[in-house]
Symmetry: C2
Subunit: 478 residues, 2 copies
């Protein structure tokens, strides 16, 4: 069998069923491969056209000259096994079958035929009946919508829509993704293969899964155990209710299984379980960009008293300790902060604060920590949640400065490039929330996301994401 | 006492403490009043300047010629009672005190002095120690950030940041707000006054409250009971945990009280309780734009099987019934839909659907309903949740068409103008969720929001909002 490498890092791609009609999937896929900036060769295959989107068209896979790594297949189901067979003979190493009309509508025989054709030639197969894949390090968006932003999250999804939503949010926020892979019917490539692949992929730091059923529960546990030390995994799995289970069965013929068992397994093997799409995104963002803090003691530093309270309430629900300040720390803070500040935890810098005051407050509270020595918890806090609840220019620079000074490492993820890693392990964590800050907020959040600092849009979402980071027993990749 | 009308619909406004320095609150407020498009007279007051932002400056309130309705006060606390006294003599009817430094830092005497000055002249007072207010029908943004979009939500908040966040989201989504009022120390104007005011305000359809404590619990129940028939109320109230309660006390010196009691009261009087800022926004959006359906039976119509399952799971948690299709309805749907569709509830139109198929599905499922006769539940369903999980152009037009045909009324809210109300009461509800749809999604959601159809970004958020709409015993304003 070929490895998945030949799919994700393909140097030449054919789109079988390429179309000149803009609304057709065979057009959109080709357009997105071109629009994504793929640097290899692209061959539209359509016997009825000479040229599509400016590219020479070929009547069949056999007619394409030179090496061919990957075929993206969009023709009606009944033709697909033949295409794979032809491709196999032609020497393709992988295929992505977008077309539906196989096992999911009871056409098991056709799916078996497809599988057999692929197996015969050792062709790795994604799908059928799926939304394709997008691998940003290779600028290969064989899917839709077109998403280009590079980042640390690999999304593996049994629902194209859930995957596309994750991609879109990551693109809008400029945190990016490394990959999106739609599982479809999982004829060959399954979530297990993909977890293993992305665990070894230097462009990926977290795997976000949407799964309706596990064909192989034991295999799932084993693969997570195997890669658990190298990459964190977040999973959204519906079918918690009776009606949800039924709906799972009509959708992908999966068996949702008993939810409490799956929940227990996740806890046991250190998989972060998301309750909804929002959490799947937030948890992946936290786990993709941050290292887990050493413990659960959090100091909330805020310009908004109200948001400090919301964070405090939320913390208790996820096992984070908004621990009281020691008398000594209180004293030190009172010496450096204006009288109007409320020196407690949450630490309310009040609405007239500038960015600098956050720096002063955090450095003071962290003083005596040994600045970044591994395992130390300065002034009793394992991490700080900075809530910027007003238009506070320069917030990004202050956070970057604090990370340099306290986290013993450079900023972590650098979107669109490699990951800029410092040496030391994080000893103090810094989580950021920004809201209510008008235009300034937009500017600061963009700066932070571009330099690999994840920003959460509400105190509650920030705290829940930190809870997931804490619960995740795996270490994030260093 | 003057009424709040003279504050929100002021025709002339002075900014006492107006400043030429762009970072000062006294500058930002003045700039936002001008930038919001206020049509009345604006008078900066600052004895040291001749002109600020192109407007002639006055040395004091007394020096301003002609009528003066409202003073926005940004000078240091110790000067504020004097300003109110001078304003009272000058004939102002209302004042908004942004300045802090009163009861919240233990300066009770100064706050009493302020209250006395206001009471002496019958001046209504918002604040002190607050983020001002924004009333979009009068284009009067005496607050920050600058938000101009008009819509049905009045936000009343004990936290400036929570209020500003709600405003910003409503502006970004183009659903708009009618008002934002920061409560501050509530020296005079309280949430009770504001609930009563906005219940009678034709520009408002829902009141969104962020409250840390109720000074007058009985008064709250009475006012809600009084206005309950005319306007729905959503509340976010933190202080659920012990540490949260303590934080409430340090922030606004409020007593959070026993949470389960407040929760019971809300249920009893029909107030929708939000668990976090996101829900405060989503619930307000649902209640501001939609009428409660007649019952809890929901048909999910989706292009994404996965999202249909997520909606189904979420529904059970909030008491919504994803009821099975009757055999008759199934038969009718099978006749009009392609074979690939999964005809059950959720009804999966599959990823290749166009917008038209949604129309066909919903009309078919609703057939025999008597089209909009009050109280009828077509085919057993009280409302439809339409999930657009792909790039589906024309979604807006199909939803508008369905609303016209099935809801017996025109589209509801018309942002930026009055509310375009049809006659009949809604007999079938239509809720919309759009996600994973790339650029098409942006276009369709904008169209829907502009024509007063709220769109939710995930199935789970849509379902929770519908749950709040169902639980809210009040009728939304017609």
């Amino acid at each position: 069998m070929n490895s998945l490498e030949s799919i994700f890092n393909a140097r030449s791609v054919a789109v079988v069923g390429a179309s000149a009609s803009p609304e057709k999937t065979g057009h959109i896929i080709l357009k997105n491969i071109i629009g994504g900036g793929f640097q290899g060769s692209v061959y539209p295959v359509n016997p009825k056209a000479d040229e599509i989107l400016g590219l020479k068209c070929y009547p069949s896979l056999s007619a394409i000259p030179g090496t061919l790594d990957l075929a993206v297949v969009v023709v009606p189901a009944r033709f697909v096994p033949g295409v794979i067979d032809e491709g196999g003979r032609r020497g393709i190493k992988g295929a992505v079958v977008i077309s539906g009309g196989f096992g999911e509508i009871g056409n098991e025989a056709l799916e078996t035929e497809l599988k057999d054709a692929a197996r015969k030639y050792g062709v790795r197969l994604i799908g059928p009946n799926c939304q394709g894949f997008n691998y940003t390090p290779n600028r290969l968006c064989a899917s839709w919508p077109l998403v280009r932003s590079r980042g640390p999250i690999a999304v593996v999804s049994q629902s194209g829509t859930v995957g596309a939503t994750m991609e879109m949010w990551a693109e809008q926020e400029e945190i990016g993704i490394s990959a999106f892979v739609a599982l479809g019917n999982k004829s060959d490539v399954s979530e297990l293969d993909l977890i293993e692949y992305f665990a070894a992929d230097p462009n990926t730091r977290v795997v976000a899964l949407y799964l309706e059923g596990l064909r192989d529960g034991r295999g799932f546990m084993e693969i997570i155990r195997k890669v658990g030390g190298s990459i964190p995994v977040v999973v959204l799995k519906p079918g918690k209710t009776e009606k949800g289970k039924k709906a799972v069965q009509s959708h992908t013929h999966s068996i949702a299984g008993r939810d409490e068992i799956f929940d227990g397994v996740c806890r046991q093997i250190g998989v972060a379980r998301a309750a909804d799409i929002t959490e799947l995104y937030d948890f992946s963002k936290a786990l993709g960009f941050m290292r887990p803090p050493n413990g659960n003691r959090m100091l909330v530093v805020t310009s908004s008293g109200g948001c400090g309270i919301l964070a405090t309430d939320a913390a208790e629900h996820v096992g984070i300790d908004v621990a009281p300040l020691s008398e000594e720390t209180k004293q030190r803070l009172k010496e450096v902060l204006p009288e109007t500040c409320v020196v407690s935890n949450p630490l309310d810098l009040t609405g007239d604060t500038d960015a600098k005051r956050y720096g002063t407050a955090v450095e003071t509270a962290a003083a005596g920590s040994g600045n970044g020595a591994a395992g130390s918890a300065p002034a009793g806090f394992d991490f700080f949640l900075l809530i910027f609840g007003d238009p506070i220019p320069g917030a990004c620079e202050v956070v970057e400065d604090l990370k340099r000074k306290l986290c013993g490492a450079g900023t972590r993820g650098n979107i669109g490039g490699g990951f800029d890693e410092g040496g030391a392990n994080t000893s103090v964590g810094i989580a950021v929330c920004f809201l209510g800050g008008g235009e300034v907020e937009g500017v600061e959040v963009q700066k932070m996301h571009r330099s690999g600092i994840p920003v959460f849009p509400t105190p509650e979402r920030a705290v829940k994401a930190m809870g997931a980071l804490l619960r995740s027993k795996t270490r994030t990749r260093s």
